[in-house]
């Protein structure tokens, strides 16, 4: 579904966010990109969403080389991908329903069909009863679920999420991940950037660890995992009564 071939992304400041990165994500996979902030997780997703272009290398999404997607074709390209953001990026001057309906309106889908699908998407994230509310009246977790409903309402084959649980407490994070899981089970490919390793391990999905814009060497990963396990067990112990 996604093939990254020898990508380098250098910013005008000279700093390289990604260095000679190559990776693949198969159709129907649910994969996490992990790493510290600044490791290049967001840059990778931004390249896939064509918010930015790579300095060198190729990004191939669903058989489409993004290098060949011209400026004018970017909107049509983005409509094939569902996107979820850490800060939700909702439109705060209109109700939940309108926010979720936006991708369908952009795609020119008839009103009746659109509202049926919006309700189906809202039902997926258990927010059907809040369709008339403004996003501001919702909790952070609910707002994120609105963002997810908006990402899936146009039925994309690929969903990318940048730190979708970054602002959520563990319970809400797990809830969001369960929703993602359900989409994965019906065939959606998911690429999720997250630093919440404990949560990812709970889900048992493949991880793509990034360090300074490159894939982390295997042994390194083990060390980190060990360290994190240790941290986790310490936390578990400290939480005992």
């Amino acid at each position: 579904m996604i093939r990254i071939e020898d990508i380098t992304k250098r910013y005008p400041t000279g700093q390289a966010a990604l260095k000679n990165l190559s990776l693949t994500v198969d159709k129907g996979e649910m994969v996490f990109v992990t790493g510290h902030s600044g490791a290049g997780k967001s840059t990778l997703l931004r390249l896939i969403a064509l918010i930015e272009r790579p300095t060198s290398g190729q990004v191939i999404v669903d058989g489409q080389n993004t290098r060949r997607v011209s400026r004018r074709k970017i909107p049509a390209y983005r409509r094939q991908i569902g996107m979820v953001f850490q800060d939700h990026r909702l439109l705060y001057d209109r109700p939940v329903f309108d926010n979720v309906a936006l991708p369908l309106i952009i795609a020119g889908i008839a009103h009746r069909e659109a509202s049926r699908r919006v309700r189906a998407a809202l039902d997926q994230v258990s927010l059907l009863h809040k369709e008339k509310q403004l996003p501001e009246t919702l909790s952070s977790g609910e707002q994120q679920r609105v963002g997810i409903a908006r990402a899936i309402v146009s039925r994309p084959k690929l969903l990318i999420a940048d730190e979708p649980t970054g602002n959520l407490d563990p319970d809400l994070s797990l809830e969001v991940m369960r929703i993602f899981r359900r989409f994965n089970e019906v065939g959606v490919t998911l690429l999720i950037a997250s630093h919440d390793i404990a949560l990812i391990d709970q889900l048992g999905c493949r991880r793509i660890p990034l360090v300074d814009g490159s894939l982390q060497p295997e042994e390194d990963e083990d060390v980190v995992a060990e360290y994190l396990e240790q941290l986790e067990s310490e936390r578990a112990r400290s939480e005992l009564p």
């Binding site: 918010i51 409509r79 020119g108 189906a120 997926q124 908006r150 990402a151």
Partner: protein
């Protein structure tokens, strides 16, 4: 998982045309709604546009009315043919009847020297002084009224032929100043056209600037919609509708301002024309002119917002 499957079934497109209509209707109503939400700011913009449109429209009306009045004069213009002193009253009457038969002449009124003196004595108030005169200094006069279908050329010809008659001392025709007046009106009309073009440019700037601010205020929204796949055209559309509503509102309000101006002038004009024993009433904007003003407002609104949107929209890309 059937719910998830349902949410993810392949997209269907139905009734593209009706969807398109519904989308545009929805967007235009939404744009109007945004204007109504900020009534004061919107009204200010609309008022500025209205005044800018009403200015050339009012000037045009002044010229149109002046033309109507002077057109009246041109047709009702009489030639005063003063005959030579030696022409007898009998010859003069004969001449009058000959001129009267011309195709380009409506009527000829013969005023004898005696009648003229009597009239002058009565109206001038110099009665006593005139009594001192031993003989009548006034000649016989023919007042020739050209036919209703006369043109400038035929009037000129008539004037010349009357002047060339052997009996004629001299012909007084007041066409000259009417023609000059018409020339002045023509210049004024052209100046109004130029002024209207400049004011049109001003409206473009006003609307463009208003839309630019609007775009800046909604930058976040534009970024988000672009991020989820909106094209430039889609993002531009609401702003075009905003420009459309500004233009339409401005055009209609301009008509209102002009109508109010006419209403305010109606009484004084009626009084003035009453003093001239005339039943002249002010000409208002006709349907074509009204449509032109509203149309100008709408097209300037669309053009201004288009320019602003095209300039600023491209620079807003999601971060």
């Amino acid at each position: 998982m059937s719910r998830a499957a349902d949410a993810l079934a392949p997209a269907r497109r139905s009734g593209i045309l009706s969807t398109w209509f519904a989308l545009h209707l929805g967007m235009s109503v939404a744009a109007l709604g945004r204007l109504v939400k900020q009534p004061f700011a919107s009204l200010m913009t609309i008022l500025v546009i209205a005044v800018t449109l009403a200015l050339p429209a009012a000037l045009h009306l002044v010229i149109k009315n002046a033309q109507a009045i002077s057109g009246h004069w041109a047709n009702a213009l009489d030639f005063s043919v003063y005959l030579k002193k030696e022409v007898s009253e009998e010859d003069a009457r004969h001449l009058a009847s000959i001129i009267d038969q011309r195709a380009d002449v409506d009527t000829v009124i013969f005023i004898s020297a005696d009648e003229a003196l009597a009239e002058f004595r009565e109206q001038s108030g110099f009665g006593a002084a005139l009594d001192q005169l031993t003989n009548n200094p006034l000649p016989h006069t023919l007042v020739v009224r050209p036919g209703a279908s006369s043109t400038d050329q035929s009037m000129l010809l008539l004037n010349e032929e009357l002047a060339n008659l052997p009996e004629t001392e001299f012909v007084q025709a007041d066409t000259d100043w009417v023609r000059r007046f018409h020339a002045i009106l023509d210049i004024l009309e052209r100046a109004t056209g130029i002024g209207a073009a400049l004011l049109g440019a001003a409206i473009l700037v006003i609307i463009g600037n208003t839309i630019r601010l609007d775009i800046q205020n909604r930058r976040e929204e534009i970024e988000v919609t672009k991020l989820i796949g909106a094209s430039n055209a889609f993002v531009r559309r609401p702003f075009l509708y905003t420009g459309f509503w500004y233009g339409l509102g401005g055009g209609l309000l301009a008509l209102g301002l002009v109508a109010y101006g006419l209403y305010a002038l109606d009484q004084p004009v009626a009084r003035l024309s009453g003093l001239y024993n005339s039943s002249f009433s002010v000409l208002a904007l006709d349907l074509r002119e009204s449509l032109l003003i509203v149309g100008a407002g709408v097209s300037l609104g669309l053009a201004g917002s288009w320019i602003a949107a095209a300039r600023h929209m491209r620079r807003i890309e999601p971060r």
